[in-house]
Amino acid sequence: MNKARLIILFSLLAVLILGMAISEAAVSVQCPYTIIDDQGNTANPNVICKHITGSDGFATMADGRVLYTFGFSDVTNQLPLDQILVTAELDARIPAPLIKVKEGQEFYLTLTTLPMSMRPDLFDPHTVHWHGFPNAATVFDGEPMASIAINPNASLTYYYQVPGPGTYMYHCHVEATEHMQMGMLGTLYVTPLQDGQLLNGFTQFAYNDEDGSTGYTKDYPIQITSIDPLFHDANLNVQPLPFAAMEDTYPLINGRGYPDTINPSTTLGTSAENNFKPSQNLPSLIEAQWGDMLLLRISSLATVRFYTLISPNLPMKVVGKDAMLLRGTAGHDLYYETNSITLGGGQSADVLIDTSVIGPIAAPQRFFLYTSNLNELSNDQEDFGGMMTEIVISP
């Protein structure tokens, strides 16, 4: 009896292992050099190789509601490759992993599509669309009607010669309205060749300004997105998707609603639904020492409407839009100071905040950065939340 059960067990195990070996054979990473760290740096400093997965998962809103999502997860340098299909299951991250590359680098970005754990009836492929890439090639543009998309259990390596500096975005473009509403959205930014020089008292810059006028002390990605919970629930429950009725009620910064935005934890978003995987890793609490120059890399990938973000008491100097330095062809600056930035989906702005404008301070001071579409300051039914974060300046 025992022996028979053992035999059955072993044969089941054998079938399982064989089946896995077959189905996982297609995960592959293309990189011309050995990857040396989890950031994707390689033996050649001019070559960076990252590996991300596209899968489903769950995120937790600031009011505690757990929502079904699609998302990317960073698995760079994770080995063995064939285990990624297991370890990255339900690991959709909101927002997508931050991607930071240097101008002029060669960037190999491998995307592995995982099957949808909660929607095995879907066979959706995924893509990466580097939003704003100048002189793009369709094969690496990720817009599926003009390009190729990678099916579940397989990998596609995108190749980019990293273009000029600035704040871009990336997202999946497959069935764009659905996959973007579901959360496959992230910030991608490029640092300039000028970094490392000493100009205007700074060594890091938003752009190749040649005069240090875009220099900064600290930078923060601020991506505004929003979620319609009914759409996500319909998706989970295999219901027709409400495209026409889409109305977002969870306005977010970097995938979180206030007050989660100021929670410094990088492991929010765990729930029983996603096997307690931290799905919301990016805090948006902006911390500075008095005198610091802050660079906010603001972008919007909201799927329904325009949002205005205001910093009422700390003026913002806009130095770049859509990954372009605000400078005329004759070389004159077109920078401007403002307290508000209005962005539709797919727009970005690089703004500098000079923390010394408030005058010397004796104790930490708190400022707010929030949407002035005041009805969006909520987490669905819960007021006092939504698209808001804080800037804390210490003496």
């Binding site: 297609a26 293309q30 060669e106 190999y108 492929p125 669309h129 939003h131 704003g132 100048p134 002189n135 793009a136 090639a137 369709t138 690496f140 543009d141 817009e143 599926p144 009607m145 003009a146 190729i148 998309a149 990678i150 099916n151 259990n153 397989a154 990998s155 596609l156 390596t157 190749y159 980019y160 010669q161 273009p163 069935e175 764009a176 309205t177 659905e178 509403q181 027709p240 409400p242 495209f243 026409a244 009725a245 889409m246 799927t303 329904v304 409407r305 325009f306 839009k321 859509d322 990954a323 372009m324 005329g328 062809t329 004759a330 004159h332 077109l334 539709g344 989906g345 797919g346 727009q347």
Partner: protein
């Protein structure tokens, strides 16, 4: 739609080279690549009813302006694109066959003189069965909108709007260019395209059709149809005057060759703002509302963007170019061709960026079984050389151009009444240099 696309002349590399040689031998000039419209300075428009077909097959009842100077006056959406020259005295005669008064306002035109009809709130109106006449001097070149000034919150929604283009008079188009947007050489272009973005709440149209206009409540207007040049989704890439869209004559597709300067005239209509995103490259906004973005001393105030906010009633002119510079591999593939760099490192004939010449694609592409293919994917990453595709895949890109989606990035608007894909999306294509593109 498939038939329309397939009518594009299919040209392989060898034929292309032969045509290229012929072009050089006989000095054949390619026709101008201008926006289709009707030329002034006198226009006869008729306000009339009609129907359009959205890409979900729904027939939507509309009101629109039609060109009354043709033998067979036909409703169209949007209204005819009116094209005049700077300095001309423009006259627009409007006759009204609708059961409500209709008028036209011309934002951006000064001293419009209205004659006839009856007085209205914004301008004189043509009563039902009547007519009115507007005259103005087109003093400034640029892109403008015109629309009904009578109950515009209803009548613009119903379709009574169109584009007005004023061509500059104080510049001679430089050799090789098709025209100039303004009286400056840096606004000259090889091709120009219109992107008129509108939205529709079809329930309003249903009420008007049922003579229940009094029940229209704009406070609850909720558009679920989005259009570029009056067409939605894949319909936007069908050619001008595609027979299956008899009342939506204007294509929105932007075809080009590498290196060409493309003028994109963006106009917002109706009620919402749309972030219009162009795949392929960043573009430069050179003018808004028919005024070039230059400072008092002529300094360039143009703005480089990858997504332009198109606001209702506002126009934006942008220049777009795709060169493939720094792509890192040979855009024409590794089959035999030459690259003879000019001073800017581009081959002046093939427009190839020579530092990339001969470089293979740096990565291998996955097995075809692991890929999903787009209908506009030629089967290869290279311009002008299609690759093998599995049966039934691709097929709508016979010239093997690179296709780039131009679309509203408020992604909800990429749907047509609850169906994805649809709505406010179209494509640009970058074609092999010898592929002959339509003149209009």
């Amino acid at each position: 739609m498939r038939e329309e696309i397939m009518m594009i002349k299919k040209i392989n590399i060898m034929e292309a080279l032969v045509i290229l040689a012929l072009v050089f031998l006989f000095g054949v000039q390619q026709a101008d690549a201008k926006i289709y419209g009707i030329s002034g300075p006198t226009f006869n428009l008729r306000a009339m009813k009609g129907n359009i077909i959205a890409d979900d097959g729904k027939s939507i009842f509309m009101w629109g302006f039609a060109n009354a100077s043709t033998a067979r006056v036909r409703f169209q959406y949007p209204g005819p694109t009116l094209i005049v020259n700077q300095g001309q005295t423009v006259t627009v005669n409007l006759t009204n066959t609708l059961p409500v008064p209709v008028s036209i306002v011309f934002p951006g035109q000064n001293n419009v003189n209205a004659v006839g009809g009856v007085p209205g709130m914004l301008t004189r109106e043509a009563p039902p069965g009547g007519s009115v006449s507007y005259t103005f001097a087109a003093s400034e070149p640029g892109t403008y909108i015109y629309y009904s000034g009578t109950r515009p919150e209803l009548q613009v929604e119903m379709g009574l709007l169109g584009a007005l283009i004023v061509r500059p008079a104080a510049i001679t188009t430089p050799a090789g260019f098709a025209g100039c947007a303004y009286n400056t050489v840096d606004s000259c272009y090889h091709r120009e395209y219109l992107q008129l973005l509108t939205d529709i709440d079809h329930t309003i149209h249903d009420l008007v059709l049922l003579n229940k206009t009094a029940n229209v409540d704009n406070t609850i207007a909720y558009p679920v149809y989005w259009f570029i040049n009056g067409r939605a989704g894949l319909d936007t890439v069908a050619k001008n005057f595609a027979p299956y869209l008899p009342y939506q004559p204007y294509s929105a597709m932007a075809r080009m060759h590498p290196g060409e300067k493309i003028l994109v005239r963006m106009i917002g209509g109706v009620r919402d703002l749309h972030p219009h995103h162009m795949h392929g490259n960043q573009h430069y906004v050179i003018a808004r509302d028919g005024r070039i973005l230059k400072g008092p001393a002529g300094e360039d105030l143009s703005e480089g963007l990858f997504t332009t906010t198109v606001a209702p009633g506002q126009t934006t002119d942008a220049l777009f170019t795709w060169t493939g510079e720094n792509i890192g591999w040979d855009i024409y593939g590794t089959t035999s061709h030459t690259c003879n760099p000019g001073p800017d490192n581009f081959d002046p004939v093939t427009k190839e960026y020579c530092p990339n010449h001969g470089k293979p694609l740096p990565v291998g592409l996955p097995d075809q079984n692991d890929l999903t293919f787009g209908i506009f994917y030629s089967g290869s990453p290279y311009i002008g050389s299609p690759g093998a595709l599995p049966p039934g895949e691709g097929g709508l890109n016979p010239t093997a151009g690179l296709f780039f989606m131009w679309h509203s990035h408020n992604e909800k608007e990429l749907t047509t009444n609850n169906i994805f894909p649809g709505g406010m999306m179209t494509w640009a294509s970058v074609e092999y240099p010898s592929v002959i593109l339509p003149a209009e």
